[in-house]
Symmetry: C2
DNA sequence: CGACACATGTAACACGTTACATGATTTG
DNA sequence: CAAATCATGTAACGTGTTACATGTGTCG
């Protein structure tokens, strides 16, 4: 639902045509998440279907303009006002991969984390370079600032992921040492209950 | 694609039936990302369609068993060996929301971050409570450990998001003070070029 | 004129998700 | 026996995504 709301947000500045929405979207997200042009039109179609947007009139240049409806404005207001729920975060692939790797037959958890860590390192490097460059040229207004925020979001997230990997490895090491003497039992008799979240 | 690979990973321990796969999946992800049973069957169907899995034989109890094919094993090996690419991370809704909120008409960025921060706070609280409880009862093996990792992943990520919000607010404040004297220009003449990532 | 970029769609598909429809088995 | 639970599907939909088909300018 990110694209839907992103487009609504851009339309809040006034009517826009499809191609321009793509440009502005990427200007703010800094091409961290590139947006296919076709996607804009399909999404606009669905927004129109749901009554959040109407196609009305045209540009001086003849571009087909889309504008918010009252419902659209209401939806947008609600989006800003409501925090992103913990429950609608998408599944994190890395977390799932590691969760599955623990104790899996023929899987070297260390190799998995190692490979991922290298990748994260490279990513951090790229991000910080971009950030320095973004900061150099006056992080003044609007789009530049938005782009900087997105970039820093990626940096914070990547750093956290790196620290998490370290943490997991450390715990695995400690556990391996602790159970070095007595051979660990192969299979627990029953699956333990799942704690509610 | 997380579910596909998650199921493949679980099948690496041996043939399983659908309902059991769901139980084991949630046992490892700690119900952070609950999995509808129906989803297991639809996904198994698609895995079978793609030749990564075959339905073969039955349980003593008559449960229909699914097993990995060679392709399935290869796919799984590739999954573990390849790091999660930066480019296939899903769009982050919070990042997009903030990027859109910057300088948006009639939007109080501060209110947005404030609401989100409250939510993150509550989440951290819940997570750490669960974590303490998980650590208390011997974080011994397999599923328990996996669940702990997932939980800690959520904690690290949430903390990072909180710090990021702080960071954004601080920057906004500084910027507001700096431009308090001279009124900021409303619209930059041209959209700046998008830096490659 | 030909190449290129811009602008607008649309068709097709993948995955995730839920709701519903059935059997079979257990248990009060 | 009735109710609850387990197990297995399937139908239907939503979003995201890409590939393709055009038209319309512009510029060398």
């Amino acid at each position: 639902m990110s694209i839907r709301h992103g487009l609504l947000a851009l339309l809040a500045r006034g009517p826009r045509y499809g191609s321009r929405l793509r440009t502005e979207f990427e200007a703010r997200t800094g091409s961290a998440w590139p947006l296919n042009v076709g996607q804009v039109y399909t999404t606009l179609g669905r927004l129109e279907r749901d009554g959040l947007v109407v196609q009305e009139g045209a540009d001086e240049a003849g571009h087909a303009l889309y504008a918010l409806t009252d419902s659209g404005r209401a939806e947008l207001r609600a989006w800003y006002a409501t925090p992103v729920e913990r429950t609608d975060l998408p599944r994190d692939e890395l977390a799932i991969k590691l969760a599955m790797a623990v104790g899996a037959p023929g899987v070297d958890v260390r190799a998995v984390t190692e490979a991922q860590r290298r990748h994260l390192s490279a990513a951090i490097h790229t991000y910080t370079r971009l950030r320095a460059q973004a900061l150099a040229e006056a992080p003044a207004h609007r789009d530049e600032l938005a782009r900087l925020f997105v970039l820093e979001h990626l940096i914070f997230r990547t750093e956290a992921e790196t620290r998490w990997l370290d943490h997991c490895e450390a715990r695995l090491l400690r556990l391996a040492e602790a159970t070095a003497a007595k051979e660990p039992p192969e299979e627990p008799p029953q699956a333990p209950p799942i704690p509610p979240v």
